[in-house]
């Protein structure tokens, strides 16, 4: 039975048996693996350095390794939802009986991908898995696609994120377009129809595109003052008209000047109901089938992630039963509403890294349950976070001020703790309620002090702050370090 399912998925072609494992490739793998073991001994989950050095030795190392995968590779890119979508697809493929490589810790630049592949390979450059499901940063997308030649890509959305690295949105859009154009001719593309800047990319190789989108009557999004990131037609720059907006610039749009409009999605979400236990029932329809599933994942952004994963799985001809079975047990990814417990206090960690994602996280935190919460926000400005933290002002931290009965204190931490404190003060929060603790361990201790037994703490860090805080939680006996964390799906 398992075998049968696998054949559907692994129909790509026979694996290329002549692997070009020359001395340079082997050297690059050995050096990568050695650095990896060393960084782990010193307690850092090294995902950058090994790949970086390995790529210096042989820039083709990712290409050589990934060419062994008989079911091919999938690449997930876009601003928000990469990690969750990647985890969901990985879960579905596993359910279908495949062995997958997966860059779980969010190490998604070209060298992170190289590190992941090297880690999975034997010292002799052999991979024993069938496929790789990789999230790739928008900036690295063209390069990784050119190297790995994936079987398919998934593009989730484009938002303003880490402006210092990418410049502006126009630039991200070009990068994704370039990546799509680097694909092999028969590769498939799963694209979010509700994002005008993605759907409007119009690559030279426009075949094999599968669009997904929401077809729901959701109540209007109450926090609109952030402004939309993309407001003009990607083809003629005229202002777009929206019939529905699900969040930020995602919705049903059309251009009245050039008649460009949202492409009709082949995979669409037609119904979505929350029950009182915080489970969501979804109804999804495609051209030839209807799927119904229940998920514990919260927030509109996760609807898009689930839909993207389903579209990709259907493209791989995975039976809908397998898809539903896997998604039913999906739990939040690393640092995305990830739960911990300490001293009878529930801790939930949710990554925040750009305005739209932050708004959705805050909305989920403040509307899904009642009762008092302690909030810890940690903001660093390392390269991996983006050194430009001006986005803090574009996110709706006003939501905290609008729920004064829900919180007594907000603790702020990280190298930009004071900026965050000022942000909260100007959102209307009393200055006396804002407690600054730059060091992660002090911030966690303070949060625990300010939370009654049975109470809840939400930790909202950006990327490197999350790694630091997680390490601290691990040290206190919570969770596992990510490099030996049990596979989550």
């Amino acid at each position: 039975m398992r075998e049968e399912k696998r054949q559907g998925v692994a129909k790509k072609a026979a694996a290329p048996k002549h692997i070009n494992r020359n001395l340079r490739t082997l050297l690059s793998i050995w050096v990568g693996k050695t650095i990896m073991s060393l960084t782990r001994i010193f307690g850092q989950g090294g995902t950058t350095l090994p790949g970086r050095i390995a790529l210096k030795i042989n820039p083709q190392v990712s290409a050589v390794l990934s060419s062994q995968l008989d079911a091919g590779s999938l690449i997930i890119t876009g601003t928000n939802g990469k990690t969750t979508t990647t985890a969901l697809i990985n879960g579905i493929l596993k359910e279908a009986g495949l062995k997958c490589i997966h860059n779980q810790s969010g190490s998604n630049l070209a060298w992170g991908v190289a590190s992941t592949l090297i880690e999975s390979s034997s010292w002799w450059g052999r991979l024993h898995q069938n496929c790789a499901v990789l999230e790739v940063d928008e900036g690295s997308f063209p390069e990784v696609v050119r190297n790995i030649k994936p079987r398919g890509i998934i593009a989730t959305n484009i938002f303003r994120d880490q402006l210092d690295r990418f410049g502006e949105i126009d630039h991200i859009q070009n990068s994704i377009k370039k990546g799509i154009e680097n694909l092999l001719e028969n590769s498939f593309k799963v694209i979010n129809a509700d994002d005008p800047s993605l759907a409007g990319i119009n690559p030279a190789n426009g075949k094999n595109i599968l669009y997904y989108g929401l077809e729901l009557d959701l109540p209007a999004y109450p926090f609109q003052n952030t402004g939309r990131d993309i407001k003009v037609c990607p083809l003629c720059s005229h202002i777009l008209t929206y019939d529905k907006i699900y969040f930020a610039h995602l919705g049903h749009y059309r251009c009245e000047a050039c008649k460009y409009k949202r492409p009709l999605p082949a995979v669409k979400l037609t119904d979505c109901q929350n029950d009182h236990k915080n489970n969501t029932t979804l109804e999804i329809s495609t051209s030839d089938q209807a799927l119904k599933l229940i998920t514990p994942l919260m927030g509109t952004y996760n609807l898009y992630n689930i839909l993207a994963a389903i579209a990709c799985a259907l493209e791989l001809e995975i039976p809908s039963k397998t898809i539903i079975k896997s998604l039913d047990k999906a739990i939040p990814s690393f640092g995305r509403m990830e739960p911990f417990e300490y001293d009878n206090k529930k801790i939930v960690m949710a990554l925040i890294k750009n305005p739209v994602g932050t708004n959705e996280v805050l909305r989920t935190v403040l509307t899904h349950q009642d009762g008092k919460v302690t909030i810890l926000i940690a903001i660093n400005d390392n390269i991996a976070d983006g050194t430009d933290i001006s986005w803090l002002w574009d996110a709706d931290f006003e939501q905290l001020h609008n729920h004064p009965d829900r919180l007594d204190n907000v603790i702020v931490s990280g190298s930009r703790a004071w900026d965050m404190a000022v942000r909260l003060k100007y959102s209307g929060l009393e200055a006396g309620k804002i407690l600054v603790e730059e060091e992660p361990q002090h911030a966690i201790n303070k949060s625990l002090e300010h939370t009654d037994p049975g109470g809840r703490i939400f930790i909202l860090p950006n990327y490197t702050a999350m790694l630091e805080l997680r390490r601290e939680l691990n040290r206190m006996g919570m969770g596992n370090p990510y490099w030996n964390r049990e596979e989550i799906l």
Partner: protein, 251 residues
């Protein structure tokens, strides 16, 4: 009660780089002093009446948005010029700072004509100038240091008689070459600094509020506020440039 009308130009378009922080800084610091500050959003195609505007705020945008805005603003150039000469306050950041000059050439070598309100021009190209920035600013005597973050592809060059907002102590400034940052003409201030700039340089917010009050012949005295958090954020921004706040002559 004292009143200030702030016109926020095209909030749906020019809204990059935390511009909302600048608006919030103006709004709260007026509110905390009992000044009634009203923010009036102006969308493209609306007929703005500059006669009732005390302070015009213009934010940053990306190239595609900026073109749209430039075309819309052209029709109101004469009125804007008149208001500027009469002392109306303008605070323009990044993209719209460029727009106040003669022209802006994009990376794709497209020339977007500006408003020509102040004597400068901008050309995009080469490396993006990105990073934490400190400038010595002569709006005060003795000068004060402003701390911000810059992130721009455009290189701006000032006309020979135009005053910069400050001299670069750390970072790139207008073009990475002549050590100038921003520009000041009458009550118009243009700058590349965001982060957002006003929240952690509260004295600049207060400067703008005072100028806006004085423009309408209102009392421009402002009560002192407790700026502990703001000053800590300011000091931490200075440290990011590798300088030590205690070693700079801050006040």
């Amino acid at each position: 009660m004292r009143n200030i009308n702030v016109y926020h130009l095209y909030p749906g378009y020019l809204n990059l780089y935390g511009d909302r922080g600048n608006m919030l800084s103006l709004y709260r610091r007026a509110e905390w002093r009992g000044i009634n500050l009203e923010i009036i959003p102006v969308e493209p195609g609306e007929n703005i009446n500059f006669a009732s505007c005390d302070l015009l705020f213009m934010g940053g945008g990306q190239d595609s948005d900026q073109k749209l805005v430039a075309e819309d603003l052209k029709t109101r150039r004469t009125e804007l010029q008149k208001a500027v000469e009469a002392g109306m306050v303008i605070f323009a950041v990044c993209g719209s700072y460029q727009l106040l000059g003669h022209y802006y050439t994009t990376v794709r070598e497209e020339r977007i004509p500006g408003l020509g309100i102040i004597d400068l021009y901008t050309e995009a190209g080469g490396e993006r100038l990105i990073g934490n920035t400190l400038i010595k600013c002569s709006l005060w005597n003795p000068p004060r240091i402003l701390a911000g973050f810059e992130n721009h592809a455009g290189k701006t060059y000032l006309g020979s008689k135009l005053q910069p907002l400050g001299r670069v102590i750390s970072g790139f400034g207008n073009n990475g070459f002549d050590k100038t940052e921003g520009a000041v003409y009458k009550n118009v201030i243009g700058t590349y600094l965001h982060g957002a700039l006003l929240p952690k340089n509260p004295w600049l917010t207060d400067y703008l509020l005072q100028k806006a009050l004085a423009y309408r012949q209102q009392d421009d005295q402002l009560d002192e506020l407790d700026d502990f958090l703001e000053i800590q954020a300011y000091r931490s921004a200075i440290k990011l440039t590798g300088k030590h706040p205690d070693k700079l002559n801050l006040l």
